[in-house]
């Protein structure tokens, strides 16, 4: 069978000692850099990319893939431990993951993230190996009209992200949309809300936003209140999952793997939706809905698995078409070019050893990540026992260094300070930062696809319902709204409110 022969070739390449070594070095470096607050996968890969330039092409790409997984996991680690997500995907992990850490369950949260990521990554790698070309054809059916409808569906479903007042959640989404509008308009070139600052022309940096409203706001709140701070250094009894924990994470991991794999294939923003979508889904399906936002383990298992599955399948458009689906992929394309390989549909035919070697090494990378990180969980968790007066200046310093190292732009640091204050005010008003971040990330995508779909259809809004995939997605969104307006469900939500208020 072709697939087995190809995978065999892949294992031959990926399991040479040199490649395994560099894969491991990549995973290790990726984890270490990615765990720095404020640095997510994109930042880590950008910083470490030049290291790979001197290696053989296959080895370089294998190492880069390792860096990518390591960084992804490292980013989740800082999201869980200190509430500092480095990328939009781990922002969702921070919601329940950090609550778990505050309850002394950081070990379980980290183990869940590692196990979920490994499982999802393994399945998604297999999907990639078996069905990359046909899946690409499906993904290419998605034009702007389809993406617009998909994001609408995502936004409708994600009201579940809030675990307090729906009004406040909506207000936060709108505020996020407004922040997302800052910058030069893609279509007309007009600067919006830039107040004459050139640094704002490309919009507010995501990392500044995440570090500010999540991290700095959290630090300010911790500093003002001695009592809540002590929660962080509470005694940690155990690191491993209990039977009950395992029972609770199995289904979320399975569902999230499917959801993430499917969304990751869509190059126009699917991977961004994966962790948000998985979180909303798990919250709806869980028997412990009220626990979400307060340290529900499902809220870590789902998004982390979805995120990793999507990270994996987002290699599909890259591998089959040579087109990057997101910034990390763009960096990897750059690495292809530096090594004299023209990325494109021909790589799979002209360089089978490279293609299959990289695919197999993805799985090897996920395995190494698990082996590396399970023993490290204890070490990471001990970080929380560092006295806060030492920890918080270190967090802020590293976050600033990390943010600066990506764009070498001091303005991003000022933005952290300002957005930190904004975040602190929001915390005081009992407003959640997660919906804000959702609006910030999805708002610009929504606008971009809406306007592009309208340009292509020459201003005819019927395009959204004449195109079958778009129509189906919108229909699901409408059904979701109708369901949530139905009295029985509304009553249930009110009950949840009462419990929480």
């Amino acid at each position: 069978m072709d697939l087995l022969a190809n995978l065999g070739l892949g294992f031959d390449v990926a399991l040479t000692p040199v490649n395994v070594l560099y894969c491991f070095v990549g995973v290790l470096l990726g984890t270490l850099v990615g765990v720095l607050p404020g640095i997510g996968p994109t930042g880590t890969v950008a910083i470490l990319l030049p290291i790979t330039f001197t290696l053989e092409p296959v080895t370089a790409l294998i190492m880069l893939a390792g860096i990518y997984y390591g960084a992804q996991y490292g980013g989740s680690t800082s999201a869980i431990l200190i509430n500092l997500p480095g990328e939009s995907s781990s922002a969702v992990t921070a919601i329940d993951g950090h609550q778990m850490a505050r309850q002394g369950r950081a070990g379980q949260a980290l183990v869940t993230a590692a196990v979920g990521s490994f499982f999802a990554g393994s399945v998604a790698t297999l999907v990639l190996a078996v069905a990359a070309p046909p899946l690409t054809r499906i993904a290419l059916q998605f034009g702007s009209a389809e993406y617009f409808s998909l994001i609408v569906l995502g936004l409708v479903a994600s009201v579940a992200l809030a675990h307090g007042s729906i009004i406040k959640a909506l207000a936060m989404i709108v505020l996020g949309l407004l922040f997302g509008m800052v910058g030069q308009d893609l279509y007309s070139g007009q600067p919006r809300f830039t107040f004459g600052y050139f640094e704002l022309y490309s919009g507010i940096n995501f990392v500044s936003m995440a570090v500010g409203v999540f991290g700095v706001a959290e630090i300010l709140r911790n500093l003002e209140d001695e009592a809540t701070r002590s929660v962080l250094v509470k005694k940690i009894e155990r690191l491993w999952l209990s039977k009950e924990d395992i029972r609770r994470i199995i289904m979320p991991i399975l569902r999230a793997t499917g959801l993430g794999s499917a969304l990751g294939i869509l190059p126009g923003g699917g991977h961004v939706l994966a962790s948000f979508a998985s979180y909303s889904l798990e919250k709806k399906l869980s028997r412990n809905e009220a626990e979400f936002g307060k340290g529900a383990i499902e809220g870590v298992a789902g998004p982390e698995s979805a995120n990793n599955a999507a990270a994996q399948t987002s290699f599909i458009p890259l591998m089959t078409l040579g087109i990057p689906a997101h910034p990390v992929m763009a960096l990897i394309i750059g690495a292809f070019i530096i090594h004299g390989i023209t990325p494109g549909p021909n790589v799979i035919r002209d360089e089978p050893a490279l293609f299959w070697g990289v695919i197999v090494s993805m799985w090897v990378g996920n395995l190494l990540l698990l082996i590396l990180n399970l023993p490290l969980v204890g070490l990471w968790v001990r970080m929380l026992t560092i006295p806060y007066r030492v920890l918080f200046p270190a967090i802020i310093t590293f976050a600033c260094i990390g943010t600066y190292s990506i764009g070498s732009n001091a303005f991003d640091i000022y933005a952290i300070a300002l957005l930190g204050l904004v975040g602190y005010v929001l915390v005081k008003l009992d407003c959640e930062p997660a919906p804000l971040l959702l609006g910030f990330v999805l708002g610009p995508l929504l606008e971009e696809h809406l306007r592009r779909a309208m340009i292509i259809s020459r201003g005819d809004p019927m395009t959204f319902i004449e195109r079958p995939i778009s129509a189906a997605l919108l229909a699901v969104a409408v059904i979701a709204i109708v369901l949530s307006l139905m009295p029985a469900i509304r009553r249930k939500r009110e009950e949840v409110f009462v419990e929480e208020d």
Partner: protein, 326 residues
């Protein structure tokens, strides 16, 4: 007292001047920062890293690559314009250096006044491509079809100031027909929609399209080079395809802040000329489909002239398209 002070000041001035002279002779005594206005791994970054290595060898110092991103490269250029003119901060920039004054009317620097040019590094040809089922086989057929269906055909580009946007504007200018332009935030998504058949045509650098052309995912009509490219032998040049005056290439140049000592500029420029003869640079540029420029163009004089003529070329085209950030 005053006299004494004057003597001191004069002595200080003399020693400063002497110090400066020594500095020029020794230059470079420390690593040189080369600022790239786009993120690591992109086409400009690739060109920079390829050229920085042999340039560093020629000067006996390492180049440190710093990626300063934002606002179509203007953040990086603004930073270098304000840097110390000591030769230790060098800017790599592409054609955006010449379009920024028109695209951004409030630009905080002047590309001609605030920089000394070192020289031209490379020129990347453009390819005119279409979705693979587009109903035209040659450039001429395509132009005829586009003119006939001007209100149906869509032209993709990668956003404000992108090579593909400039090329699209120039193409519409050349064929005298305005099309519906569809902007994307970057080449990746634009190319994805072209491959997926969501948009019709696009014009972009060979560095971005060669893989898709070779793989048959998009149809190529012409390349804006003087001769056919070695890695795209079946794609005619614009002259062969009957659009000879359509000659756009995405050039890259090197700059230092205004006021940098001419001797330092001279050293950097000769290092660039040496680097352009490096076999590895020649080979890799060829793989990228970029043209290695002749050495007389990699000089400060030639590049200053090119920069100012490019600024004049683009101003009316960009203004007519109405995409300035006013």
């Amino acid at each position: 007292m005053i006299k004494h002070f004057t003597v001191l000041a004069a002595a200080a001035a003399v020693s400063l001047a002497a110090g400066a002279a020594v500095a020029q002779d020794d230059y470079p005594t420390q690593p040189i920062t080369m600022v790239v206005p786009f993120s690591a791994g992109g086409p400009t970054d690739t060109v920079t890293r390829l050229i920085a290595e042999p340039m560093g060898k020629a000067l006996g110092q390492q180049f440190v690559i710093q990626n300063v991103t934002g606002a179509g490269g203007t953040v990086a250029a603004g930073q270098v314009a304000n840097a110390e003119p000591d030769g230790y901060t060098v800017l790599m920039h592409h054609i955006g250096m010449s379009t920024a004054p028109t695209l951004y009317p409030n630009l905080p620097y002047d590309p001609l006044e605030d920089f000394e040019t070192i020289g031209l590094v490379t020129e990347v040809p453009m390819t005119i491509v279409a979705r693979k089922d587009f109903p035209a086989e040659t450039l001429q057929e395509m132009i005829d079809y586009v003119k006939e269906h001007a209100d149906e055909v869509t032209l993709a580009n990668a956003g404000i100031g992108a090579a593909s946007q400039l090329c699209g504007m120039l193409f519409m200018d050349a064929i005298g027909t305005q099309l519906t332009t569809v902007p994307y935030p970057g080449t990746g998504p634009a190319l994805t929609d072209l491959v997926g058949g969501q948009v019709d045509i696009m014009c972009d650098q060979t560095t971005n399209t060669t893989g898709q052309i070779l793989g048959g995912e998009v149809k190529a009509y012409a390349v804006t080079a003087e001769e056919r490219l070695a890695n795209l032998p079946d794609v005619p040049t614009t002259a062969e395809a009957g659009l000879g005056d359509f000659q756009l290439r995405i050039w890259h140049g090197l700059y230092v802040p205004a006021g940098t000592d001419p001797a330092i500029v001279e050293k950097l420029s000769s290092a660039l000329q040496t680097a352009l003869q490096d076999q590895n640079v020649i080979d890799r540029f060829a793989e990228l489909g970029t043209t290695v420029v002749s050495q007389d163009r990699a000089t400060p004089e030639a590049h200053t002239e090119m920069l100012s003529s490019q600024i004049e070329l683009w101003a009316p085209i960009i203004k007519a398209a109405g995409v300035t950030a006013e």
